[in-house]
């Protein structure tokens, strides 16, 4: 669908701020993140629980739960500012342009309606012209596409008659039924068995190839990221601490947090006696975030400045940037080196 637009921007998020106004005070769940996503690109968003990765995705869909609010920044989708949409425009946008699938397929389908009913409903919410029979036909095609057999019978069944993996397939079918340009997958495999996880990932990869949609894949599993993503944003305490092409993140990680994540991940090629190294400390208290870099209190390379000021982004390589004072230092050193060299030449 998006052929020929391979290098054009589908989604552009700029300096997005999301806050939750709780009785205990303002919680800055997302504190100024920026990224863009081209047509047909798959971006992984990695981070631990509470890092704001889901809230960031919900704000694209306008699904932030009260008391959460977008307090700054912009989200541009195909040139339109999503945050300026009216209620009706937002309703029309959700599901047709952007679809979302969630973590727990066991609770995401309404238990009292048949699968067919819920699929048809998703289609008819946006395509008012389509007849019921056509919609059902299309729903069955979608179910076949996501690898569900015996669709005529399955259409008439209720969610509790499906296994977890099958329900996630239904969720995917439901998300894709209106041909969205972007699919936001919020930890779609986390609640599933490992074997089923692999199947769902394979399915998503295959569907992505087929439909050329963009995907934002939210996960805390770096293994999943390596498998499916073109690029990765690593989030910590509401900020993107590092982003770049997937290979760069894995082989040239520049932020101590990313390195920590990589070291805490089991590897197939590791020696059997090698231990995993956890990231010490606990996640940030988002009500009272520390001054400076949020990761500083847990960081083994923590310097004085880290506790005082948030580091700026430093370009590490092409499209690869990281927010860490270590890299700032390296960058400055490199710059002064090259200046010296230049000076020597003169």
């Amino acid at each position: 669908m998006a052929e020929g637009k391979d290098n054009q921007k589908l989604l552009e998020v700029k300096d997005l701020h999301v806050s939750f106004f709780t009785p205990a005070g303002e919680v800055k769940a997302v504190g100024g993140i920026s990224y863009d996503l081209n047509y047909g690109e798959v971006m992984g968003v990695v981070g631990e629980s509470g890092s704001g990765k889901s809230q960031e995705a919900y704000s694209i869909m306008g699904l932030l739960q009260s008391p959460g609010k977008v307090v700054g920044g912009s989200i541009t989708f195909e040139g339109q500012d999503v945050l300026k949409f009216s209620k009706e425009e937002m309703t029309a946008f959700r599901g047709s342009k952007v679809a979302m699938i969630f973590q727990n397929p066991m609770t995401c389908l309404n238990p009292v309606y048949t699968i067919g009913n819920q699929l048809v409903e998703a289609l008819r919410a946006h395509d008012k012209e389509i007849s019921k029979a056509d919609a059902e036909k299309r729903a069955m095609e979608m179910m076949e596409m996501v690898g569900i057999n015996n669709v005529e019978k399955r259409m008439k069944q209720y969610p509790h008659e499906f296994s977890g993996g099958m329900r996630q397939r239904v969720m995917i079918a439901m998300g894709l039924i209106c041909h969205p340009q972007l699919l936001i997958a919020d930890e779609p495999t986390t609640a599933l068995d490992v074997t089923i996880q692999a199947q769902i990932l394979e399915l998503m990869k295959a569907l992505q190839k087929k439909t050329k949609m963009g995907i934002i894949f939210i996960t805390h599993n770096l293994g999943v990221v390596a498998d499916i993503c073109d690029k990765v944003s690593v989030m910590y305490a509401g900020k993107i601490v590092e982003q770049g092409p997937v290979d760069d993140i894995f082989y040239k990680a520049a932020h101590p947090y990313t390195l920590g994540l990589l070291r805490s991940m089991p590897r197939v090629d590791a020696d059997s006696y090698e231990r995993l190294i956890p990231i010490e400390g606990t996640p940030v208290d988002m009500l009272n975030p520390p001054e400076g870099c949020p990761f500083a209190p847990r960081c083994e390379h923590c310097m004085k400045i880290c506790l005082k000021k948030m580091p700026p982004y430093v370009e590490i390589g092409e499209n690869h940037r990281s927010a860490c004072w270590l890299r700032v230092q390296e960058y400055l050193n490199k710059k002064s080196d090259s200046r010296e060299e230049n000076g020597n030449e003169q």
Binding site: G95, F102, C108
Partner: protein
Amino acid sequence: MGKYVAKRLGMALVTIFLVTCLTFLLMNAVPGSPWLSEKAPSEATLAALNAKYGMDKPVHIQLLKYLQNLLKGDFGVSLKMQKNRAVLSIIGEMFPVSAKVGAIALCWAVLVGVPLGCLAAFKRGKLTDSILRVVCTLGISMPSFVVASILLVAFAGGIASMKIFPTIFDPSVGWRTYVLPCFALGFYPMCYTARQTRSAMLDSLNQEFIKTAKAKGLKNSKIIFKHALRNALIPVITYLGPQVAFTLCGGFVVESVFSIPGLGRYFVQSIQNRDYPVIMGTTVFLASFIILMNMVVDILYKIADPRINLTKGGE
């Protein structure tokens, strides 16, 4: 399904049997007798009356005899209030009056209560919600005779210029006569239903599938009435089942205040008069009705929520 119904019917019969025995024994344990009045009858008269209606025998023999008659469909005859009239024919006359008032009351209670509950849940924490909460708490905590009295004072002559409705129930006047009793009788279930719907809706609106429905781009009305409400209906149905039986069989207080010749009022009067067969007849009738309503509720569950498996749950 057939097996399930058969099983439930069997259990129902056991329940009715127990209710009958218990009521019979308790009723006889309470002092007093149907023959007592201001002018005490002579010993000889009492003995003759007791012998005539079989009340001279020990209680367990009387109970057996009653059960025997019950199996034959014979509920006995009234001893005092409408002397020698068959209890069944009394119930047959009184129940439709109660049922009509009760049905109207319950209809408005549900038709107003459920949407109000949805509204309150949707406007949670806003002014509408607060107002509704006050009204519902009032309705639940206010005894129905207070509601009925207020209505009488306001609309039936207490304020002369506002005498819109008749004070005393009289079907020949037409629909006007039903307004106040039905309102008074339905006010409590309406408030209760609204509150129950509200909390069930809030619960339902917090479910993940509501997020899915939103993400699909459904309209708010569809999210609330299609996705949330149907899931919220189960606790409401649970409450309504027995409530239907109680309301249809007559609210004693409301029937007394408006002088409605209904079953509820008659039931209480029969207790005051120790009219044993009438007490028994009404109790058995009410118990059967409640059991029946509970069965209807279970079947409605199945319709509201396909996950509920009646046959498995019953075994």
